[in-house]
Subunit: 350 residues, 2 copies
């Protein structure tokens, strides 16, 4: 396995490496592997394909292990899935929240192929009282200053684990899954924030009580001002303007395509609206390009600025379940699910 090449990304952190997709690539429906954002908790593990096995253990005592070749012989399933880091747009929060100060590039879209997780689970006697499937990555580290080293661990409810679109992926955009994205196997749960898509999966277990480890019970929790708390799970409805860019200079009375992407977890986008006056008047954008269950939706709005000066562009999305993107993100202690309308300021000259 070659080393990771993340030279095209915008570096956000280096220990471990964290990088955003560059602005130029955010306007493309498909994100090339080399420009797909990277976020890990620990350093990349050393993977040697030959001794590598996926171990599956059930609470009933069943245990199987599968080589990568054996996994590839199971029926292959492909889904296009937009992944967003739970901390994307964290730097927009005021007051700031701790953690990687992501701008708007911790979101990307790829075609993932592998086997449905259920193809493996259905080979096993999972046990009577199973409530969740637990996933362990090969990456190990100390998750916080006062913690001992442990592998990256996350769980999923059994019904979601058995959904045919929940994948153990070994291909990304038709290529072998790159090391930085979880080679040889990454869990893909369409519509969930990035931290759930466990990389370098080497063990799965059926468990009879809900898992509450560090990366589930402590770190990825929405903690609001009013004291309510809930786990970070499904991606919240959101849209972003990718063209024009922040501070771009436009010319009066020429026609521009205000365009971008919108996404809503496991729901589809019903509409996107655009404002070119800072939020006073909203107009419907046109949805264009592919409409897939779990992938972002491109949209465009034709705008002919008719007066010179500063203009504030905004977009807001609504999904098919009626969830609306808020104008203002809801502040939370750890800075997750930041999905408010992000203004793009442009200057129009004569």
């Amino acid at each position: 396995m070659n080393d990771a090449d993340t030279s095209g990304l915008k570096t956000i952190g280096t220990d471990p490496y964290v990088g955003e997709t560059p602005q130029t690539a955010l306007g493309s429906w498909l994100t090339p592997n080399s420009l797909f954002y990277v976020r890990s908790q620990f350093d990349y593990p050393d993977i040697d394909e030959n001794p590598w096995k996926l171990n599956a253990v059930s609470s009933a005592g069943d245990e199987i292990s599968l080589s990568l070749d054996e996994i590839k012989q199971l029926p292959k399933h492909t889904v296009t899935v937009t992944l967003e880091c739970a901390g994307n747009n964290r730097s927009d929060l005021n007051p700031p929240a701790p953690g990687n100060q992501f701008n708007n590039g911790a979101v990307s879209n790829a075609v993932w192929s592998g086997t449905s997780l259920k193809s493996i689970l259905s080979k096993m006697n999972l046990g009577q009282d199973v409530v969740e499937i637990l996933f362990e990555g090969a990456d190990v580290g100390s998750p916080a200053a006062d913690k001992d080293a442990e592998p990256y661990l996350r769980s999923l409810p059994l019904d979601l684990a058995m959904h045919e679109d929940t994948l153990l992926a070994y291909e990304m955009n038709g290529e072998t899954l790159p090391l930085e994205h979880g080679y040889p196997i990454r869990l893909i749960i369409p519509g969930w924030y990035g931290m759930a898509h466990v990389k370098w999966v080497n063990k799965i277990s059926s468990i009879t009580t809900p898992f509450s480890g560090y990366f589930q019970g402590e770190k990825y929790v929405l903690k609001y001002d009013d004291g309510t708390e809930r786990p970070v799970q499904e991606i919240q409805v959101k849209s972003a303007i990718t063209s024009p860019r922040e501070k771009e200079s436009l010319k009066c009375c020429e026609t521009y395509s205000v365009s971008g992407q919108a996404w809503a977890g496991r729901n589809q986008i019903k509409k996107v609206e655009v404002s070119v006056d800072g939020g006073k008047i909203w107009s419907a954008a046109q949805l264009i390009g592919p409409s897939e269950n779990y992938a972002w939706q491109q949209w465009t709005y034709s705008w002919t600025p008719d007066s010179p000066g500063d203009h504030v562009l905004l977009s807001r999305a609504t999904d098919t379940k009626g969830n609306e993107q808020p104008l203002e993100s809801r502040w939370n202690e750890l800075g997750y699910a930041v999905n408010g309308s992000k203004p793009v300021n442009v200057v129009v000259s004569n």
Copy 2:
């Protein structure tokens, strides 16, 4: 623009370069740019982006020219489109037909982004009696031994040219269109055989009589034994087995996924059937993965061979308009649209 890297392809011809997608990549829904089949008529042209302009000329005398940046400012549209060379599987024909002896790898699938051609055509007064739009590539050569050098030229009926999914593409799988695939601009007509997707487009014209140049009236014509002739246009319904491979050794009483792709031009795939006994009994395969208008459809069929020896696997597809893939390809003089069921021979051992 960097030179073309076609080192991952299976070389079929070298003057100009012609290469097939390797077998290992045919089982992936998305074909990476570096593994997408390449077929050109002439050598790659020299493209210098800065003087480069797209010229659009109408029979009414209108003329406009657009830089690549100006084209990119038009609304962006994205479609996933499977391209198949009209000569794919030509080597299966008996007696042989002249031309590149393609096996089964002159077919690939990519996400194409650009501007709808109509965004440009609608800026012009095309003229009253326009019947077709003519496309000229920057590549120039002598198309046959007795012909003078000329650019690559093909036309489209006006209604198809005005369809919103007919693209002038400048991106392929989220990356800048590679030189060997037509940089800076390639015409994409979803569902048509590859020769229609003119590369390196630098001129478009509206014309008042149907075009009948060499690559339309002479070379890409289906000429059948019974004397009938028709132009090569929309891709015919077809399926192919990508796993197991020809001559693969399987073990008796283990379960295998017989899997592959199916495609049908501008129609969608309704069903795929599989035979594991050389065509006596047919069973429905399961359609899996993305179902997009113009992209191939993946399918899988679970098979547990119960007897050792030679087995002949076949697949056949039916599209939503009721068109059925034939068991035998219809022979034609120039070897196009070869879409018969291609057997895969495997050996099962105890």
